[in-house]
Amino acid sequence: MCLRKMPLWKTLLWKIARHLGAIAALVLLGGLISATLVRMAPGFDADERELDPSLSAESVRALHQSRAGEHNILSFYAAYLRGVIHGDLGTSHALGQPVRTLLRERWPVTVRVAGVGLLLAWLLASTLAFTACLWRRPAYEILGITVSGAFLCIPAAVLALLSVILNAPGYLAIALIVFPKIYRYSRNLLAKAYSLPHITAARARGLGEVRILAWHVLPVAGPQMIALAGITVSIALGASIPVEALCGLPGIGQLAWQAALSRDLPLLVNLTVLVTLVTLLANSGADVMNYMLRPREA
């Protein structure tokens, strides 16, 4: 379909529909791959409860049969999708609770911790990047590069442990994990934008720094910054796993950690679908926003 000849709202709708189609396909495929991986994992059939000497042979058989529906992965996935349509996400084997309840209880914690962490990271990184470009002092640039470089070299789990030792909030650990990635990328983008000839010309004509930033630098660096914002959602979600697991925060990250350790098939499939969905929505949202903000010919 030729998008150039279509009106803006139609192209936008077409773009959104294409993104949603791709997201649905990738999410379904991701869930199926996750279920297949868990099913193929060595020791999938083993259940620790079967080792309990107080259980009778019948109880052990009943336990074994309770997982029989998961043996054929395609039929398990088809049953899972039927359940999703009716609002039933299955029951967690390890925690013995409906997955829907677990996600509803834990999602707000992750949204709060990862959201505040992401916000802090963006605030810190963009402030440092903008001031470094405006100020252009070598010492300040070296300081920014050294600080971000140091945090880039510390594993996310160590930052989580340090936050526990220092009694700092979990969102601060997430902010420090995400901050160096944003700083380095946005610093390079802004430096590249500031080195363009029309910025030099604007400076020579006496334009103020704020006007140069708002009218000439941001339109150049903005689209890639928006794309970066989409990617940082995925980074913050990934960072929430060690942070929530080690800081004892009962969120989605901790749940993913528990599900992985106990090979909880229904929980792992749901979490993979959820995490893939959030990441893809964030990236597609950034793409659509970029499309809307793109300057057009009259």
């Binding site: 791709a22 396909a25 990738l26 495929l29 991701g30 791959i33 996750s34 991986l37 868990v38 193929m40 994992a41 060595p42 020791g43 470089g149 140091a150 880039l152 070299c153 510390i154 594993p155 996310a156 789990a157 160590v158 442990l161 340090l162 030792i165 390079n188 995925s234 980074i235 979600l237 990934g238 960072a239 796993i241 060690p242 697991a245 080690l246 993913a256 950690w257 992985a260 350790l261 090979r263 792992l268 979490l271 993979t272 995490v275 893939t276 990441t279 893809l280 990236n283």
Partner: protein
């Protein structure tokens, strides 16, 4: 080469040399327990003290560094080869192959790296011998870490596909396998080298994360991940500052790797 890169190169080589000489520098080994001195502070006998069960911390750091520094490049090699085959081939073939490869890499990249890593690692047996756990950990890193590199390589190979020399080679009657392995892959070498070097610090960090979460290398074999796990019991930095040495060493080595990668390589 700038002075910072020279210094970084010297640091990496020195750390590698020390870890390779662990047998002579720390003859006690990483597993020997000094039961009379558990959690001992640094002394002439134990330069960085001992851990909770009396193992020499200096020896464990040297052996752990050896494992992480030898196996992270091996995992990076696996992931780069996979990326070259998947991304390079898809980019060269173009059309449906390129779209399929991009959809597959998109799927891999849509999952947060650490989430993917802990899920796949937890699915594999955890109660295995230490040597098997090392191989499983680094093999997973190599087998799962190719997607981002494949994406970059597919774009580079796609650009090469329509270049004049490839068109001429094709017009001369060269077949696709020969074209790909003899003409396309050698021209992707700079991108492949860059992706290989970028992957090493990423894999070192990932192993450390897995180790701290208890999904890395199994005891008593040390690695940076299992050494950093010791920080879990730390109450304050002033109490036992020597326990931070593995973290400082990791920061120094990873900073050196960062300095070794020039800006052009990172953006390649």
């Amino acid at each position: 080469m700038s002075s910072a890169r020279t210094l970084a190169c010297v640091v990496v080589l020195a750390v590698c040399a020390m870890s390779l000489g662990a047998n002579w520098l720390a003859p006690a080994g990483y597993a020997q327990q000094f039961r009379e001195a558990p959690s001992a502070p640094p002394s002439h006998k134990h330069l960085l003290g001992t851990d909770e069960i009396g193992r020499d911390r200096f020896a464990r750091i040297l052996y752990g560094t050896r494992i992480s520094l030898l196996l992270a490049p091996a995992a990076a090699l696996v992931s780069t080869v996979l990326a070259a085959l998947v991304g390079g081939l898809a980019g060269y073939l173009g059309g449906i192959w390129l779209r399929l490869a991009r959809a597959f890499t998109d799927l891999f990249l849509s999952l947060p790296w650490l989430f993917l890593l802990i899920t796949v690692r937890a699915l594999l047996p955890l109660n295995v011998s230490p040597l098997t756990s090392v191989l499983i950990t680094f093999l997973i890193l190599g087998l799962l870490g190719w997607a981002a590199s494949a994406r970059v390589l597919s774009t580079s190979a796609e650009a090469l596909r329509n270049s004049d020399f490839i068109l001429q080679a094709r017009a001369s009657g060269l077949r696709d396998p020969r074209l790909f392995f003899v003409h396309v892959l050698p021209n992707l070498k700079p991108v492949l080298y860059a992706q290989f070097w970028i992957s090493i610090p990423v894999f070192i960090l990932s192993e450390a994360n897995l180790g701290i979460l208890g999904l890395g290398v199994a005891e008593p074999l040390p690695s940076w991940g299992s050494l950093l796990r010791e920080l879990e019991g730390l109450i304050s930095f002033r109490e036992e500052p020597w326990r931070l040495v593995p973290l400082l060493l990791l920061i120094v080595v990873l900073t050196s790797f960062q300095l070794l990668l020039s800006n052009e390589e990172v953006t390649a």
